[in-house]
């Protein structure tokens, strides 16, 4: 069963974060017999703690530390944002991994690069990730059931000429598998799945790692700084425990998977005389090239009831617009995904007030919804940095988050909303709202992989260019955003990174 390691045991790999990246990497390493200490800032919930009430669950698992600027919608809890995610797991596409080659730089100072790997290299890891997560419609797993909201998406999509439409590619069990039950269409996926049908590392990777006897999870252990030795290699992680006491866990290697804000903060906050700008930051890229995806949302009042609250939150994807054709007025592509929101989520998305607002909310049973996620070009000015003087309750510098939509994203959003409107109107929708959806639930790019050290923070394995025993293991490592939801790719990269770490250790080069 679960091990306990001494603080001065320098043989362990310390993984910071227990979500899609950190939880997966921890388990993959532990399965190979590599000792891991996983530091998780949040506490460990059980399924019994999950209630169908979003504000309650946001208080239990949301990340509420002080930020300046619009903070991403992420979690401080064991399982990280895999507790909150919707479960959509499309693969990235070949042209997206060659973003610079395919699109060229956009006007206005984008910082696109190609991924330092091909889709062929990534494909076997996508296979492993899909199998691990139980992605519907792959590896012999049945397709997802078609909810009412999906049926609207699919019927309207067909009417306006779309062909690549699926209810699948969801990491939600359509039927019982690997000790987890099938989806009961509860509808509160974003508050944590109350039965564990949706994949989360809380009840998959973490307990699997604990069974190996090569893994220790330390909860309420907030990593604040990574130390290094005289040779410039990382040597330990300082963390704050539930009582506020600081400890240092010695380490053979350190993997950072705190989601973009904390990954940036930890790297920048670990500055020293040798690394005055923080770890991995000799070329100044840490915190920069922050991408969130071009997000959009569309809600329509349909002629008859849909009852979109019945069933999983997201249950369908249209892929037809995920290609590159500058004729549409923008580079890159997007996916249309069905989404259902509770009354408050519906109201918040639509925004505004008055009778032109309540014509939607008063007809809640007749609403259908689309969530749009599209390629978002990296820009140096979209960044996370640390405030020079302001410190938070943990005495850490407060992160400053700066993000703007590139004109390419605005053009893409306009196109996607026009398509969404046509889709709904083809079925007789009487009212349509479409707009931005600035929730910040897809977070990428602040410590990106690059073939050339000049262009990023880490190499093709997520290993810092500057420090060979420091790894980036979350969405922060993405060179560009592609169009689809990031979690599947985070998991695939974590599995791949674990192979690399194990191989390097076997070769005694780590």
């Amino acid at each position: 069963m679960a091990r306990q390691y001494e603080l001065n045991d320098a043989s362990v790999v310390v993984v910071i974060g227990s979500g899609a990246g950190g939880g997966t990497l921890s388990n993959e390493l532990a399965q190979k017999g590599i000792d891991v200490v996983c530091l998780e800032a949040g506490s460990r919930l059980t399924l019994a703690d999950v209630v169908n009430h979003p504000p309650t669950m946001d208080a239990r698992m949301g990340w509420h530390d002080k930020r300046i600027g619009m903070a991403p919608w992420i979690c401080k809890t064991v399982g990280g944002t895999t507790m909150r995610w919707s479960g959509a797991t499309p693969r990235f596409q070949e042209h997206e991994l060659k973003a610079l080659t395919t699109y060229g730089q956009f006007d206005g100072g984008t910082t696109l690069i190609d991924w330092p790997m091909t889709l062929d290299e990534l494909a076997p890891y996508y296979d492993k990730a899909e199998d691990k997560m139980g992605v519907s419609g792959t590896h012999g797993i049945p397709p997802s059931a078609e909810t009412n909201n999906y049926k609207v998406l699919a019927a309207g999509g067909k009417r306006i000429g779309y062909k690549e439409i699926t209810s699948s590619r969801m990491a939600i069990n359509p039927q019982a598998r690997n000790g987890r039950p099938g989806c009961q269409q509860i509808s509160f996926c974003n508050s944590g799945c109350a039965i564990g049908a949706k994949w989360s590392t809380l009840y998959t990777e973490i307990p699997a790692a604990e069974l190996t006897a090569h893994f220790e999870l330390r909860t309420q252990s907030m990593a604040v700084k990574i130390n290094h030795d005289d040779s410039g290699r990382v040597s330990g992680v300082v963390y704050r425990d539930a009582d506020g006491t600081l400890h240092e866990q010695k380490a053979r290697a350190v993997a950072v998977a705190g989601n973009v804000v904390e990954t940036t903060r930890i790297l920048l906050n670990s500055n020293s005389s040798r690394f005055p700008d923080g770890l991995g930051n000799s070329t100044g890229h840490v915190g920069r090239n922050y991408t969130r995806h071009m997000f959009g949302a569309a809600i329509a009042k349909m002629p008859k009831p849909v009852n979109y609250h019945r069933g999983a939150r997201q249950t369908g994807i249209i892929f037809d617009e995920q290609y590159h054709d500058p004729e549409r007025g923008f580079a890159g592509g997007y996916e249309l995904q069905s989404i259902a929101l509770d009354p408050w989520g519906t109201s918040s998305s639509i925004g505004g007030w008055g009778p032109d607002h309540t014509v939607f909310t008063d007809n809640y049973t007749h609403l259908a919804g689309i969530f749009i996620t599209g390629e978002d070009p990296p820009e140096s000015v979209n960044r996370i940095s640390l405030h020079a003087t302001e410190r938070d309750e943990n005495d850490l510098p407060v992160p400053v988050i700066e993000y703007r939509d590139h004109p390419n994203s605005l053009a893409m959003r306009e196109h996607s909303l026009k398509q969404s409107r046509a889709l709904f109107e083809s079925l007789g929708a009487t009212h349509f709202w479409g707009g931005d959806a600035p929730v910040g639930c897809h977070n990428m790019g602040v410590a990106r992989m690059s073939a050339n050290p000049r262009d990023g923070v880490a190499n093709r394995w997520g290993q810092a260019h500057d420090i060979d025993n420091l790894f980036i293991s979350d969405g922060s490592a993405f060179p560009t955003s592609a169009a689809g939801n990031p979690t599947l790719t985070i998991v695939a990269l974590a599995i791949r990174q674990a192979d690399h770490i194990a191989e390097r250790m076997t070769q005694k080069t780590l």
């Binding site: 169908n52 009412n148 989806c183 509860i186 509770d342 408050w344 032109d356 014509v359 349509f432 600035p438």
Partner: protein
Amino acid sequence: MQEEQTTRRRFIVAALAFSGVAAPLGSTWLKSAAAWAADDDAGLDELGRMAQLLFPHEGLDDRVYGGIMSTVMETTTDDQATQAMLDAAANTLDAARETSWLDLGAEEQFAVLQELQDQPFFAGIRETVRFHLYYHPDLWKHIDYPGSSKEFGGYIRRGFNDIAWLPEDE
């Protein structure tokens, strides 16, 4: 926490630039407004009435709106920022016309709100009301939203796929 949520999920009103809202606002509004005006005797105070005009659900009991604002006032007595916001709302509404805002007709009340919608207090009240109203059990009942479903086994046997009016295209 409340303010944090509001800030964090501040869905941008500018997004309405993309809006395709085509509601026949005038007629819906006037009819409803008259109905609420007749309800004034029920005794909604200024903030309760503002809440009602922000998110008008015809047929929803006035007391839901009044109750929300009473709850907000009572639970934030130590919260200076919220109290200042509530005071600013009442004072600004009343200063808008010669007559106190509550004594104005429904159309005029609405017009005043439109004039004031860019004032700092307005977004705060709007988002506070939005949160409390759309998590209110009576509102849920009014719009046929049942809330928590896990104790009923979700919707897998309760209509998650029962839509029957969609066209049967090939």
